[in-house]
Amino acid sequence: MATTQPLTTTKTLVAKPQARISRRDRLAGPIGMLLLYGFLSGLALLTVFPFYFMLVTSTHRTSDILTIPPPLWFGGALIQNYQELVAALPFWNALWNSLAIAASHTLLVLFFCSLAGYAFAKYRFPGREGLFAFLLATLMVPGVIGLIPSFVIMRWLSWIDTWYPLIVPGIANAFGIFWMRQYIDGAIPNELIDAARIDGAHDFRIYWNIVAPVIAPALAALAILTFMGKWNDFQWPLLILKEEAKYTLPVALSTLRSLRGSEIGVQILGATGAIMPILIVFLLASRQFIAGITAGAVKGG
């Protein structure tokens, strides 16, 4: 920082060079800026377009969709597609299953991760550094090695075709604990905890009454992230769930892919049903979404 100091002073003292510099300051000239905005907007359009296409296509019959050009405006077949969708698979049931699994998993994650994060942030116990380093290292272990044995373990536990394998593993996970520790470390003054301890508050009581209420923003970000991951999870539920009545949405949807001669509009409407709930929450709370995703990744570096 020492080197920047004199430079800033020069800048404020000498007006003329600053005008010259401010032109350079920009990323590009007027035409360049136009091109940059064109590039950014074009990519944004390409990114958002498939969602629009999805909404449009779910309102058409296959006979309309398979035309040249394909329809780009809404049609009138939404109700018919919907009726066929709920006839082809237990859509609302799968939606409810996804919701129940993701919500209960998320609640448990919030509790166990914030509890452990609190311990790592505010206690100075022997072995703390080593245990935390181990926890961080587990983040780097690829999951592939555990897939087959985990399935076997679930069979030993008689947990196949139940929701337990989807809810229980990962409720105290390294990412969540790391994320909560970072936040609690900065958000809660030690004096607050010491004062409560002097008042005779029990360890868990301090967590529950003093720590938990203060860390709501961090909990919200972690909740969004966890919920989203569970809602979209595919490989593991595909492996665990056998009975159609227990399917989560992605598993139920994947069966649509294989149905021969099935209506495209019906498939896409199913996709809409899986995407829209999360997408709506995202559009309402994109800041929290993005905060949740970035926090761990940047600090982790």
């Binding site: 920047t4 430079l7 800033t8 350079r24 300051d25 990323l27 800026m33 950014l40 944004a44 390409l46 990114t47 498939p50 296409f53 296509t57 969709i65 050009p69 509890l115 311990a119 100075r124 116990f125 703390r128 587990t138 780097m140 690829p142 592939v144 555990g146 897939l147 087959i148 044995p149 985990s150 076997v152 373990i153 990962g170 604990i177 809602w231 979209n232 595919f234 492996l239 949405l249 992605p250 949807l253 994947s254 069966t255 892919r257 294989s258 199913g270 996709a271 899986a274 995407i275 999360i278 997408l279 995202f282 994109s286 993005i290 995703i293 970035t294 926090a295 990744a297 940047v298 570096g301």
Partner: protein, 314 residues
């Protein structure tokens, strides 16, 4: 103190440690769920997977010890190496472009002269909130050969209709396309957060010194962002080597008896492992595949790390 023997000092240390442990007893209780769960669902599966890979097992009858036979068989299994080739191909054609594009976008959006940051950030980020299965269904329609919108659009440029998902030549590029579409915004948002943590005074100083944008990018942004990039690339290696959802959906679906599409062009290692274990019920062989993939991931991450660690971006 000086009069204490080493033995006495050690004893005293141990006593202090014990006292500290007792005093912080609840901390151990609070962190214990992670270590218990990780032992059951993390460490044990890892060791058990290794054990499995030394057996043949159909999942029902008793396991049969075969030593390293699964591994020697794997060494000459053309299909397995094809999946490794496909997986690495996808890493270079999907993950690398995705990270590069994300970095460029993040740099542009981070500029104080670009307006509508929140809008662009949210727009690029949207795909990652969507289920990969649902996204695949949408793209299967968009990439249709005869009536797909992409081929329709390409016709205006005089391009003949491409059989995106049906031909061996285009299946991998299609998977790469969908992967890039879904993940670029995610990486962009992380790089952007990294950029925003760089002290703006550094840019200011460089600009006053007369540095041009591309110099700033090369000599300030990239070096300062290196830890974030390094971490992201390693996570991407881990993620890309285990990719499953998009390839399995675009190349035939989950009920396909011949996964991977035409000529197995879209067959990635994770899908082959899944099929070998749970459809062909060769648990031991699949466990060996999983272990080899695990080792490859560790090697690639390590190579990248040491390469980037030794060779700073000037």
């Amino acid at each position: 103190m000086a009069t204490l023997t080493v033995e006495q000092m050690r004893k005293q240390d141990r006593r202090t440690t014990m006292r500290e442990m007792r005093r912080n007893g609840w901390a151990y209780v609070f962190i214990s769920p992670f270590y218990i769960l990780y032992t059951v669902f993390g460490i044990f599966p890892l060791l058990y997977g290794l054990w499995l890979s030394l057996h043949t097992w159909d999942g029902i009858s008793p396991m049969e010890w075969v030593g390293t036979e699964n591994y020697t068989r794997l060494l000459v299994d053309d299909i397995w190496w094809k999946t490794i080739y496909n997986t690495i191909w996808l890493f270079f054609s999907a993950t690398i472009p995705q990270l590069t594009l994300a970095l460029i976008l993040a740099f542009i959006i981070n500029s104080p002269y670009i307006r509508g940051k929140d809008f662009f950030r949210a727009a690029y980020f949207m795909p990652i909130v969507a289920s990969a299965v649902a996204v695949s269904l949408i793209f299967i329609s968009l990439l249709g050969q005869r009536y797909g919108l992409l081929n329709y659009a390409l016709k205006f440029f005089g391009v003949e209709p491409v059989d995106w998902l049906g031909s061996a030549a285009w299946l991998k590029p299609s998977i790469a396309l969908v992967t890039i579409w879904q993940w670029t915004g995610y990486s962009m948002v992380i790089f952007l957060a990294g950029l925003q943590s760089i002290n703006p005074e550094l840019y200011e100083a460089a600009r006053v010194d007369g540095a041009w944008t591309r110099h700033i990018f090369r000599h300030i942004t990239l070096p300062l962002l290196r830890p974030v990039i390094l971490f992201q690339v390693i996570l991407s290696i881990i993620g890309a080597m285990q990719t499953f959802d998009i390839p399995v959906m675009l190349a035939g679906g989950t009920q396909s008896s011949a996964p991977g599409g035409t000529d197995r062009a879209g067959l990635v290692s994770m899908v082959l492992i899944y099929w070998t274990a749970f459809k062909y019920t060769q648990f031991g062989y699949a466990a060996a595949m999983a272990f080899v993939l695990f080792i490859l991931i560790v090697i690639f991450s390590f190579l990248y790390n040491s390469w980037q660690g030794r060779n700073p971006t000037d």
